[in-house]
């Protein structure tokens, strides 16, 4: 019976990144994916003729350029296009736009507050300083602070040196950034509610916390440390939808000799004498491998795919307590024409950016209150984009694909499972909000895909539909992610590794967990990592 050098459970972006690096190191690698397509939460599927949806993730910034280059993703079709800005619509019939041009951005803010217009430079300076501190850490394995191995000591020293290199004021800012609420953080810079709401959205996306919850300032930072071709903090569309990322990864993987099996759901990991030996598929088929890497989140991996008796008690308890709460949903809409927003001038670049309707911190926090009560938000927070304003490949000419990321959506409704009626009610809350700002919106809808945490968990496999495979709060970051002592992609089971967003540096379509896990695996196998670029310099 064939034994693969490595079996990757799950063909999401991190699983594929991991597979690519291992295959290119000379291993014989198999990716098993339960769906009939690869991509995990980075997919583009045609659910109605002529329209491609970015079904889950919908914009790109965090994906590491070093990985794109190493794995030759442009050659396999990946193109990322920066988008143009965005806006928050205000209930008084106006809007607050974000423009790429620095002076236009300032003038736009000055429409609301001259002070805030000039405060933006300070805000942006402080956030950029923090991003420059964190960015180089993304592609390094977090040190184990309890270990005395030279590598861990070296990494701890590196962290310490970086931190010591900061001025006292910078250190204070770093600690505050990692622990404060986004609301309090923004209060230090801005006075205008809608301007705060405009920035706060990056602090709550994908997170079961409100803007006033401590820890949300870091979530904002997490969304700022990406880039589009060197433009740090910029976001873009993957041409052809986010599936283009995983499509390119799969093509790169196959071109280097890798094997993918779709429609192959793993039932459990085969473990013998404390060591992973392969996987058993849902149909009972056994596949053997010298090592197994799970792209699934830490809960799914260790509470569903590995038998409890193989795991230490404390580890299990920590996995159970790992916060991976469902907080968001997705509504993907095919439109037969571009929606109009009377508040926006017809030639506004905002159509080609991300749009929001939550114009105050209070509304944002109220939306979270509904989540706490076990309901989807009556007045939800939407991150809405129309990628087809820049990407001609996703819909026929003149027609459009609209992606709405929706928050908050609880993992269970009033303590019970989601029903189809709940799902429809959730969708209606979204459509109603858009229609309020865009007359005739309903008439343009050709088709709609509605994904509550129920659908996301069922189709993508993310526990509770949490898009980050675990909250990005400070207690679950660095060497604590996902479980203290297991932040270096290894697990209590020999030969079983983790490579999903549950591991450092965390979620988003970043690829860094998959890459870093591959580096650790190759180290264990005493194989070269010379095909893996180190993080680009931050100068």
């Amino acid at each position: 019976m064939k034994a693969w050098d490595a079996i990757i459970i799950g063909g999401g972006h991190n699983g594929l990144v991991n597979a690519c690096y291992l295959q290119r190191a000379g291993l014989d690698v198999l990716v098993v994916e339960k769906n009939d397509w690869v991509g995990g939460a980075a997919t583009s599927r045609e659910l109605t003729p002529g329209f491609l949806y970015s079904n889950c993730s919908y914009v790109c910034s965090l994906f590491r350029p070093e990985i794109m280059r190493d794995l030759e993703l442009p050659r396999f079709g990946l193109q990322v296009i920066s988008y143009e800005g965005g806006a928050v619509f205000t209930r008084d019939g106006d809007y607050l736009a974000n423009y790429r041009d620095h002076d236009a951005h300032r003038r736009e803010f000055a429409r609301f507050s001259k002070r805030d217009a000039e405060a933006y430079d300070r805000y942006s300076r402080d956030v950029t300083r923090q991003c420059r501190f964190i960015q180089p850490l993304l592609m390094r394995t977090a040190p184990d602070p309890t270990s005395f191995r030279p590598r861990d000591l070296g990494e701890l020293l590196y962290l310490g040196k970086k931190f010591a290199g900061l001025s006292a004021e910078q250190m204070a800012l770093t600690l505050r950034f990692w622990t404060m609420s986004i609301s309090e953080f923004l209060d230090e810079y801005f006075e205008t509610d809608v301007i705060k709401a405009n920035f706060a959205l990056s602090g709550i996306i994908g997170t079961a916390l409100g803007p006033r919850s401590p820890g949300t300032a870091y979530v904002l930072l997490h969304h700022y440390m990406g880039e589009v071709d060197g433009s740090v903090g910029a976001w873009g569309y993957a041409r052809g939808g986010m599936g283009a990322v995983t499509k390119a990864l799969a093509a790169s993987f196959k071109a280097s000799g890798g094997t993918i099996r779709t429609g192959a759901e793993v039932d459990h990991v085969l473990v013998g004498r404390g060591k992973a030996k392969g996987v058993v598929l849902a149909g009972g088929e056994e596949i053997y491998g010298k090592l197994v890497v799970s792209n699934a989140d830490v809960k799914r991996t260790f509470l569903k795919l590995v038998e409890e008796k193989e795991l230490p008690d404390i580890f299990l308890r920590r996995v159970r307590n790992f916060k991976i709460r469902g907080s968001s949903g997705k509504v993907n809409i095919a439109l037969d024409s571009l929606p109009e927003f009377p508040a926006l001038p017809k030639d506004s670049p905002v159509y080609r950016g991300d749009m929001h309707f939550t114009d105050s911190m209070e509304r944002m926090e109220r939306a979270y209150d509904d989540w706490k009560a076990g309901r989807w938000s009556a007045d939800p927070f939407l991150d809405m984009v129309i990628p087809t304003t820049l990407d001609p490949t996703m819909a026929p000419p003149g027609k459009h694909f609209m992606s709405c990321f929706v928050q908050y959506a609880p993992p269970k409704v009033d303590g019970r499972d989601w029903t189809d009626a709940d799902r429809d009610g959730f969708a209606e809350s979204v459509i109603a909000q858009i229609a309020e700002y865009s007359p005739g919106f309903r008439d343009r809808i050709v088709h709609m895909e509605v994904r509550t945490p129920r659908e996301i968990e069922a189709e993508v496999g993310l526990t509770e539909g949490n898009i980050f495979q675990g909250e990005l709060t400070f207690d679950q970051l660095l060497f604590n992610r996902p479980v203290p002592g297991y932040a270096q992609y290894r697990s209590p089971v020999g030969g079983l590794y983790m490579c999903g967003s549950s591991t450092p540096p965390g979620g988003g379509v970043m690829g860094a967990p998959g890459r870093n896990a591959a580096a650790e695996i190759l180290r264990d196998l005493a194989k070269s990592t010379s095909h893996m670029s180190p993080a680009h310099d931050v100068i």
């Binding site: 205000t90 002076d103 429409r111 405060a119 300076r125």
Partner: protein, 410 residues
């Protein structure tokens, strides 16, 4: 509850929506400048479309030194600071002693954060006992407003509503006099006064950025064009020409003056090690330890006492005639000790001059054996030159006509 009222936005706010269609604004003088812009050579000055040159950058420079040159300074950031505590507030924010700045006077100053790092430099105009105008390169409204807490003072940004012109050069006085600004001859260097213009007033100060005889004029935006026309008409026989920034920049280098974000970084620098204390960029003379507390005082004192000042800004004279712009400065041709931030061949001094930031003690106590490495690109090849540099005093040129009283009539 914090529900926002569902009132309509103000007319001014919605009227301003369309700004995204004009990313580079014209200044109030734009119609006149556009008409003279033969080179169409523009750059972005703080969101405004400003000319690098208008017809010939070299001849524009000579207009400054030989006749009168008109340069649009409207994009400069301007704050109006007014109130019973305006003097005390500015004394607390800036380095120099504002109580010594009499109404009708201007001084060049700078301001620091609590760590003693320079946030920006600028000119402070005292228009009356309780009213000031602060002009700067960067924007600092939050800093100024936060600093104003506890003072009875209003700080208002007025960049767009006030237009500004620099009229510089030997005939600038004659132009103003011929334009009918009676009494302008009484202005000594750094004096200012108000003069009637077009039903309103224009503030004229004997200041400038060229090291030459010159004036700066501030006027409400709506009176800008008539002021331009008044000067151009009066100056016709005095050789008045409009100029762009390249010419002005040459004049300011000769005058040894530094520019924010070109020779030193400001409030919004991202790399913390790029920040500079006043003593590190040649502005130590502004620091007034006799006056009361001001932002950065403690840190500056400590840095001086503990010799923590790491940099020094100097004037260099470099052998040869190839400008050393952005060249690296070496000690003994081998050890890197600094960077040239501005450089040119000076037509007035007939010397190759530069402004450079060096790491102490070089440029401070060690001034011997300094060199600059010039990479001169000539037809797709770098001509690498190692040239000797001598630390010299700034300004590189000193023109008696700048300060002569009464100003000379040409």
């Amino acid at each position: 509850m914090n529900h926002q009222p569902t009132i309509k936005p103000s007319k001014a706010r919605t009227a301003a929506q369309g700004h995204f269609r004009t990313l580079r604004l014209g200044t109030p003088f734009q119609p006149r400048i556009d008409a003279l812009a033969r080179t169409q050579d523009w750059y972005n000055w703080a969101g405004y479309r400003a000319p690098h040159s208008l017809w010939d950058e070299e001849l524009e420079y000579f207009a400054i030194r030989s006749q009168a040159a008109l340069f649009d300074i409207s994009p400069m950031t301007k704050y109006r600071v007014e109130g019973p505590d305006a003097e005390a507030f500015l004394d607390r924010v800036t380095l120099r002693d504002v109580t010594k700045l009499k109404p009708g006077r201007v001084h060049y100053t700078a301001w620091c954060d609590d760590e003693g790092f320079v946030l920006d430099d600028g000119t402070l105009f005292r228009l009356s006992p309780t009213r000031f105008r602060l002009c700067s390169q960067e924007r600092h409204l939050p800093w100024l407003l936060d600093s104003a807490i506890g003072f009875d003072v209003a700080v208002e940004e007025e960049t767009e509503s006030i237009a500004g012109l620099a009229l510089q050069g030997p005939t600038s006085f004659a132009v103003l006099r011929d334009a009918g600004f009676a009494g302008v001859e009484t202005l000594k260097i750094f004096d200012l006064a108000e003069f009637p213009h077009d039903g309103g007033t224009v503030t004229i100060s004997r200041t400038g950025f060229t090291g030459d005889l010159g004036y700066e004029l501030f006027v409400p935006a709506e009176n800008a064009l008539s002021l331009w026309d008044r000067l151009m008409t009066a100056g016709e026989l005095r050789g008045i020409r409009a100029i762009g920034y390249t010419a002005l920049n040459r004049a300011r280098i000769e005058a040894g003056l530094i520019v924010a974000n070109a020779d030193f970084t400001t409030e919004h620098a991202i790399r913390a090690d790029r920040l500079r204390m006043p003593d590190e960029i040649g502005l130590g003379f502004m620091v007034d330890l006799e006056k009361g507390h001001f932002n950065g005082r403690r840190a500056i004192l400590e840095a001086r006492a503990r010799r923590k000042l790491r940099h020094v800004l100097v004037g260099l004279e470099i052998e040869g005639n190839i400008p050393a712009e952005h060249a690296i400065v070496y000690h003994k041709k081998s050890q890197e000790v600094g960077l040239v931030s501005a450089a040119m061949w000076s037509p007035m001094a007939k010397r190759n001059i530069a402004i450079a930031s060096l790491t102490r003690p070089y440029g401070d106590t060690m001034v011997e054996d300094l060199w600059v490495e010039i990479y001169a690109m000539r037809e797709l090849q770098y001509q690498k030159l190692m040239k000797r540099a001598k630390v010299v005093a700034r300004p590189f040129i000193k023109l008696d006509r700048r300060t002569a009283n009464p100003p000379a009539d040409f």
